[in-house]
Symmetry: C2
């Protein structure tokens, strides 16, 4: 049984942790970007050190008070909002945002720093921290790791998990795990780092991390190319990787629907192709010294004869920025149109093209729907989102709000894909995980949760259903 | 309390799993490469399917019989040998070695296949499975994953963990986890794959895995270069990675002692440098189309003026093979000399050179010792091994058998390194892990072990001390 973070508990905490920042949460802590969840309130706590985090958790654990870890608030699956149960402690590490150390290969940084701050710290050391997501100005490292964020550079550099060498974290009972290794190789016991990464704050609170830094590529090139189909996009990727193994850093597919949404509702961006192509890709490469990326992209374009019908190679930094601005405006256009249902999914690459066709047909059978399918196709990761027909409102589709995701996820499941490629489970997909998840995996997850957080105080209701 | 795998248990198993291969283990199952551990015997079981593995574990769990997972027997820390306790079931998956599927990006293979078989299956699909270790002809995929093997290509491609997309595994009670995803991105719940990888058979038995395949580099180049010191080697690496980010696939440091061991005891290999240099590196690069690796290496050599005093660039496949043969003969030469104590350690790169000096001085203070320090220096991973002086036998150093590793590990600990970079804990380093491991991490490991294997039947005594 959990208890509320009531006045008397707040008094206990105030006495036990002198100087701890404690207060009522502002509205921003009770909302999330898609407006589906509304927080029930609670006590906002902002520790300034790992010791304070440990002390807070120790007391919450003793009293059975729920702890809701809050990063930058940018999560899209409700992992940061609790709508029911006794009011929780909302734990924000925003005051812990120091860069603790930076070397040529490692950035040691506190969990409250934003992803952008981490990137900037790397830049300051003339290095690259390659993780890049649209919300990087607000998303904090703790949340980025807790949700194993992905983004546009996973293809070459890996996701948050692969970019993290170690974590410092606090378990439910206040036990501190000090794992801030600056090591590429360390086989000393179980991989708690990766267990905590992606656990969405249900197993522990990450307070700091060591992140991998990379040399910056000698030269970067960016292009947009028109392809006939998703299958052709994947063939183009294959060709690019065969010619430049390990050098393709982004390969984003964009559908004509997305481009037409931009025409319809903005944001206004430069579109490189007059006729909006049904399918195009944004490709970015980073090459060793001695190779000119524009030439390599031009050669790729030539080699891809038959696959690629048109293309533009960025010849300046501003043209590169324009291409990325187009790509990054797609989610905003989606938001303005207003989706009926959004799906962050991944598929095995050999099945991806067939999935897109089957899923489209299946959704069109359900009703008069527009589909914007785009994403990190090099990773097999699609944002496969359903929208109302032109001139209609999503409220008119209430009757399909369950049928659409079920149709998509059933198909994803049949194709051996994932119902959450990069956004996580949060609260939105708890039922979906129960339905599509492997029963053996779910049983093991519950056993681990019970072992590390026996009172279930950490982010209750996220990832795993409460029993 | 565990019970022995006695006659009556064997009968139970025989009845419960008809057709199961059951018998006495041959000598090879009771030995390990360094001759430190001698198995106490047991019942050798060779299942042919995941269902059989699950049935065996279920019965072992019910009866409290220990299960000793046995891969290729190549582990160097005694993880595959049990010397005490009731006699165990020795579980070998050697009959489960099928390639289940191979696509352009994924190899799905059973745990009993050797690493070499996995590499060959990738080659058959014109792909690369880059994990490369000396014992790859015998080491099996299950063991490679259970110990998170490393080797010479981690620098570019990652270790076993990073090369594995998913596992199928059986938990202690027979629960099957079906996680053979062919996906680069999958954020659906806790990362059990990475928890099982590196757990050395103490949390579950991996029965199959999906492994990442890569395009083969358009062109590969290999060189050996003479450097003045480990610090110069690291500067050379820095320079190489700045010029060819992501393209340096191996960077191995070799000490003069290692070369002199080869002169002294063989194996006979071609040595490129007449005078045995104190420090040299073997560097391998894989480049995109349009770049000639020999030229790139020659340019690197020129750019490294002041760092590199001599060098040989392989101009044929046979020269490449010769260089690798030299590198791969070092462990055999070590074996013939006979080490007093071997240390598979890793250090933060900025501290690696200072460590080598301090550790050498500290060991020379202990006695008349020869040190062969070599390894995957690009990953910060050293094999820092102590040998008797010329003409003396390691038996004469019995009095230092504890002092040497303690001295090395104390220093590793002080430098923020790892006491096991790639070989794991096994039984050899259980005490060291207790001594140097983070107490919070150890407590969490014990909680997880108790949750997933409450009777402690899986590889008892490995990784965690039994209480």
């Amino acid at each position: 049984m959990r208890t509320a973070a009531d006045e008397s508990f707040v008094e206990t905490l105030r006495d036990a942790v002198p100087g701890l920042s404690l207060g009522a949460p502002g509205a921003s802590y009770l909302e999330e970007p898609r407006g589906r969840y509304h927080g029930l309130g609670g006590v906002l706590v902002k520790p300034t050190s790992t010791e304070e985090v440990a002390a807070v958790l120790k007391h919450c654990h003793a009293a059975g008070v729920a702890v809701l870890p809050y990063g930058g608030g940018t999560g899209l699956v409700g992992g940061q909002i609790t709508e029911d149960g006794p009011v929780p402690v909302i734990l924000s590490l925003e005051k812990m945002n120091a860069v603790r150390a930076v070397t040529g290969h490692v950035l040691e940084i506190e969990a409250g720093a934003t992803l952008l701050e981490a990137q900037q710290a790397a830049e300051g050391a003339e290095r690259l921290f390659p993780l890049t997501i649209a919300s990087q100005g607000s998303a904090r490292i703790g949340g980025v790791l807790a949700t194993n964020a992905g983004g546009v550079n996973v293809l070459r550099y890996g996701n948050a998990r692969e970019l993290c060498l170690g974590v410092e974290a606090v378990l439910a009972d206040g036990t501190v795990i000090s794992g801030l290794k600056h090591l590429r190789k360390d086989n000393t016991g179980y991989d708690l780092k990766d267990l905590l990464i992606g656990s969405e704050g249900t197993l522990g609170i990450i307070t700091a991390a060591t992140l991998r830094l990379f040399p910056r590529p000698a030269a970067v090139g960016t292009a947009m190319m028109v392809v006939e189909s998703p299958a052709a996009a994947l063939e183009l990727l294959e060709l690019a990787e065969a010619r430049m193994p390990g050098c393709v850093s982004a390969f984003e597919m964009i559908s004509g629907q997305g481009l037409r949404f931009l025409d319809e509702v903005g944001p206004e961006v430069h579109q490189p192709f007059e006729a909006r192509p049904d399918w195009s890709v944004l490709i970015e490469i980073g090459l060793p010294e001695g190779l000119a990326p524009e030439e390599a992209l031009a050669e790729l374009f030539e080699a891809a004869e038959g696959l690629v019908s048109d293309g533009v190679i960025a010849s300046s930094e501003s043209q590169r920025a324009e291409m990325w601005s187009l790509r990054e405006s797609l989610p905003e256009a989606n938001k303005r149109i207003g989706s009926i249902s959004s799906h962050d999914i991944s598929l095995p690459l050999p099945k991806l093209a067939a999935f897109i066709e089957e899923a489209r047909d299946a959704l069109l059978d359900l009703g008069n729907i527009r589909i914007n399918c785009f994403g990190h196709v090099g990773d097999g990761n699609l944002h496969f989102n359903a929208f109302p027909a032109e001139g209609r409102d999503r409220k008119e589709y209430e009757n399909l709000r369950r049928a659409i995701p079920e149709t998509v996820y059933d198909l994803v499941d049949r194709f051996g894909g994932s119902i959450s490629a990069e956004h996580g489970i949060g609260r939105l997909k708890v039922g979906d995980l129960e339905r599509y998840g492997d029963p053996g995996k779910l049983a093991a997850m519950r056993a681990i949760k019970a072992a590390l957080d026996p009172k279930g105080i950490l982010n209750p209701g996220a990832v795993l259903a409460e029993r």
